[in-house]
């Protein structure tokens, strides 16, 4: 694939005295979808927050398009072309849906292009158009997720950070949203860094994946290869092969090979 867009090398991030990330390196190439899998508390969100500049890494580097963005404040990082659709959606509850989307394009001044992008978002998520005048706080969880993704798209990102888009949604809605995520990637050429607990859908959507456990990357490979690994099957996809007698007699350990 083509050149590297985002390069995270060896970052270590702390919440006060607690080390959440213990030396993580990630690369996102132009136009690709990369996923970071991991259980609760593995540090997935922390990685995205470090990239966005909400948290500063104690050690290590974050570079975007060859430029160091490690010390920038979140609004400056966004102006470089990294848009973040945060965990828990974080929409503006008392603004209308249209105003929320307008805030997504806060940094832009090209009116015609903004209008075109707005139509594009409404094209991906027709529900939002129906509810454009409604207060965002009154939307359902799924609609709020659509809004959060669209709002990030309105910033016309080169790299889109998606944090748990499946959180709290019905399986059907999850499938729909991930299909659109894939379309956004293909049609707009936006690179996506996707953080997910739902390994099934994430591996199906992404090109390349990292597995994160307690602040460390324990495995990385193309998603097709990851899906074939025993440990991934066992612990992330929940497939078990039964033993000779039809049931398993011991608990498996993770080997990460």
């Amino acid at each position: 694939m083509s050149e590297t867009l985002l390069k995270v090398s060896n970052i270590e991030t702390f919440y006060g005295p607690i080390q959440a990330i213990r030396g993580v390196s990630i690369e996102v190439k132009q136009g690709s979808i990369v996923t970071v899998l991991g259980a609760n508390g593995a540090g997935k969100t922390t990685i995205l927050r470090t990239i966005s500049g909400v948290l500063d890494a104690e050690r290590g580097e974050v570079s975007f398009q060859g430029q160091d963005i490690g010390g920038l404040t979140p609004d400056r990082v966004m102006r470089q072309g990294i848009c973040h659709s945060p965990e828990g959606r974080e929409i503006f509850p008392f603004l209308s849906v249209a105003e929320n989307l307008m805030m997504g394009s806060f940094t832009r001044s090209d009116k015609d292009e903004i209008a075109r992008d707005l139509e594009m978002c409404y094209g991906y998520f027709p529900r939002l158009k129906e509810r454009a005048a409604q207060r965002a706080g009154q939307l359902s969880g799924g609609e709020q997720q659509m809004l959060a993704i669209s709002r990030a798209l309105m910033g016309r990102p080169k790299l889109l950070l998606l944090d748990e888009p499946s959180l709290g949604l019905s399986p059907l809605l999850v499938t729909q949203i991930f299909e659109i995520v894939k379309r956004i990637n293909r049609e707009r050429g936006v690179a996506i860094l996707l953080v997910e607990q739902n390994a099934h859908i994430a591996l199906k959507t992404a090109d390349y994946g990292y597995v994160l456990e307690v602040g460390r990357i324990v495995m990385e490979d193309s998603c097709a290869a990851l899906m074939e690994k025993d440990d991934i099957k066992e612990f992330y996809l929940g497939q078990k092969d039964s033993g000779a007698r039809g049931h398993r007699r011991w608990k498996k350990k993770k080997l990460w090979r």
Binding site: D75, M78, E90, F92, P93, F94, E99, M103, R151, A152
Partner: protein, 293 residues
């Protein structure tokens, strides 16, 4: 008929001083909504605005409207710098620190104004001083009418600003969800400083509108206490509530001055404040809608 006209006049006078309380309360609420800080120096920022206007209009002899505009600009700039240099540093500290800091600033402002200008009461001439208008038999002071009209115009302008302009909506967004506003590329710190600038500018407008009715002196900032009652009455999170609360406090104050024994006028705002806290702590217009998680 005579009584009715008298009553109406009292109501108009009360509404006029109530508008002043409302405008200061507006500053309280705006800053509180955005940064969760209660700025107890708001009344004293108004006092500074009054002295700045006095300088421009009386001492430099500028045209009233030019002086008005300049006073707003200078006071707004002062508010901006106050946040950027001082108050930004206490964000995230306990509420108590903020209360002490703004109370301390209020003392500094009073002493500073006394040194820079004077401890005496001063005033300046406005186009509305000592003139009356006759509305179908009802004779009203132009000063009071100018306060009412000025407040209405200002509220209209601010409403349009907050609902229609990109910057205004961004201010709402930053108040509602700071982190998400950062993710949108909104420079949240600068937006907060601008909110302080608007609050200070509105206080300056209140000061200039008040000038024909009241003298300017270093202690006029204690009006802020009544404005605080107005803000609580309005629900402390609602901007229209702040202005309406101010008008209610002002009218109640005037009426009690007329109907009740002397001395009651000065305590009515505190009685209103206590009554609201006991009977309806969320205020008249408190937001009951909560964010869905």
């Amino acid at each position: 008929m005579d009584d009715a006209a008298r009553l109406l006049q009292l109501v108009v006078n009360g509404a006029a001083s109530g508008c002043i309380y409302g405008l200061i309360a507006f500053g309280f609420v705006l800053i509180y909504k955005a940064t969760e800080m209660v700025n107890f120096a708001q009344g004293d920022i108004m006092m500074l605005g009054a002295f700045v206007a006095y300088s421009f209009i009386h001492q430099f002899g500028l045209n009233y409207w030019v002086g008005f505009g300049l006073a707003i600009l200078v006071t707004a700039l002062f508010g901006f710098l106050l946040d950027a240099i001082v108050l930004r540093r206490v964000i995230g500290q306990p509420q108590f620190a903020v209360v002490m800091l703004t109370l301390g600033l209020a003392f500094i402002f009073r002493a500073g104004a006394g040194l820079a200008w004077t401890y005496d009461s001063v005033g300046f001439n406005t186009p509305f001083t000592n003139k009356t208008v006759n509305l179908g038999g009802l004779v009203l002071g132009q000063d009071n009418v100018s306060i009412l009209v000025g407040t209405l115009v200002l509220c209209g302008v601010l409403y349009l600003f907050f609902s229609r302009t990109r910057l205004g909506v961004a201010m709402q967004a930053a108040s509602q969800n700071q982190l998400a506003a950062y993710y949108m590329g909104i420079p949240v710190r600068r937006i907060f400083s601008l909110i302080w600038a608007i609050s200070a500018g509105v206080a300056a407008v209140a000061a200039v509108l008040l000038a024909p009715v009241s003298m300017i002196d270093v202690n006029m900032g204690f009006l802020g206490i009544k404005a605080f009652a107005a803000a609580v009455l309005g629900g402390f999170g609602s901007i229209p509530g702040a202005v309406i609360g101010g008008v209610i406090v002002g009218v109640v104050e005037q009426l009690s001055g007329y109907f009740l024994p002397p001395g009651f006028q000065d305590v009515t705002s505190n009685i209103v404040l206590l009554a609201v806290l006991i009977l309806r702590p969320e205020g008249l217009f408190g937001k009951t809608i909560r964010k869905r998680v």
